[in-house]
């Protein structure tokens, strides 16, 4: 343990608690946003990040000749936009989100360093905190470029993020405020 959060100044423990509460709230809204725009099933994630939505699931390679299909739609269907992330948008998303994920993982890792955990446990939790965003974006890119089956990797990344946060939040809160000796 590089420092001990249990016996740190009250202000430090208050800061860490508020940081965890704020991150937890943002994660809840993150989950809500995922539910709105992508979904929690591999099928829905594949629709969002796959080649071009559900219609293209069976047609991942460009056709040899341009194919035109036509189907009736209602006004409501035209108004509804299926949230589909194409390659350009995924480049932008990766650029925008990866730095913030790194900062969050680093912040949570700093909390881990102040907790009375074994060296191997500390390493494992830090690895989990950084693996989660990598899995998240690797899954999105693999779903787009290789196969919709990789949507499961993105889901694993999302759950790993939630798991990592929960482990740190529970242990830190318990150690800082209840088990001080």
């Amino acid at each position: 343990m590089l420092y001990d959060l249990r016996h740190s100044d009250l202000r430090v423990r208050w800061l860490v608690t508020l940081l965890l509460a704020t991150l937890g709230t943002s994660y809840l809204f993150g989950a809500w946003m995922v539910a709105l725009y992508a979904g929690f099933s591999p099928h829905k994630v594949a629709d969002t990040y796959g080649p071009a939505g559900e219609a293209m699931m069976a047609m991942q390679m460009p056709p040899e000749t341009t194919v035109v299909t036509e189907r009736p739609v209602s006004m409501a269907e035209m108004g509804e936009e299926m949230h589909h992330v194409d390659k350009d948008l995924l480049v932008q998303d990766t650029h925008v989100h990866m730095p913030m994920y790194a900062v969050i993982a680093a912040g949570l890792s700093l909390i881990v360093l102040g907790l009375p955990l074994s060296r191997s446990m500390g390493l494992a939790i830090i690895a989990l905190l950084f693996a989660a965003p990598w899995l998240d974006f690797a899954g999105m890119w693999l779903t787009k470029l290789a196969s919709p089956r990789f949507a499961i990797v993105t889901l694993a990344g999302g759950w790993a993020m939630a798991l990592g946060y929960t482990i740190v939040a529970v242990i830190a809160t318990y150690q800082m405020w209840w088990r001080k000796s």
Partner: protein
């Protein structure tokens, strides 16, 4: 710790602002396909060769090789077509609805989405009459809305006008190359 704080501030400052709806898609459809009571989606799955062709023409390729035209009909007669076109820039995405009349000229253009940061710039360009410049434009003519409004507006609204020109140019190329092809 200092590095982490600076990185957090940098990441927050570089974050693209959220998207806002300027015109609901349904309203854009009503404005750009007036009188239509039936609609169809014509989905064009573009081949690699055609993707290169449109790229060579206007420097743009349909995202994931797919273009969707929404066609408006009244008593089974086509009244026009519409497509939603996204234009990306470092400030985030813009979405346009570009409508074509049954003669194949531009009926109108609506900016349906922008980001919080871009919204005031886009509105300034629109107030200067940007989209008036597209009405009646033939699909093989280059859009020149930005050129017309730039003397009346600021630098960033002028940049937005250039992006909107670009989106209209991409939509025109898509229409010219793929709409009539069956």
């Amino acid at each position: 710790m200092k590095t982490i704080m600076l990185s957090a501030i940098a990441a927050a400052l570089l974050h693209i602002t959220p998207t806002v709806i300027l015109v609901k898609r349904q309203d854009a459809v009503s404005h750009l396909l007036p009188g239509a009571d039936q609609f169809a989606a014509r989905e064009v799955h573009v081949s690699s060769a055609d993707s290169r062709r449109i790229h060579d023409a206007v420097g743009w390729e349909p995202p994931d090789g797919m273009i969707t035209f929404y066609i408006g009909k009244r008593q089974d007669q086509v009244t026009g077509a519409l497509m939603f076109m996204r234009v990306d820039c470092q400030h985030g995405p813009l979405e346009l609805a570009v409508g074509f009349d049954s003669r194949g000229t531009v009926r109108g253009v609506e900016v349906t989405k922008a980001t919080v940061e871009m919204k005031p710039w886009v509105l300034e360009a629109l107030r200067a009459g940007l989209t008036d410049a597209y009405r009646g434009l033939a699909v093989d003519q280059p859009p020149a809305g930005a050129e017309k409004v730039k003397p009346k507006i600021g630098a960033m609204p002028g940049y937005m006008a250039e992006l909107i020109d670009k989106g209209v140019m991409h939509a025109n190329a898509a229409y010219r190359l793929f709409y009539v092809r069956r």
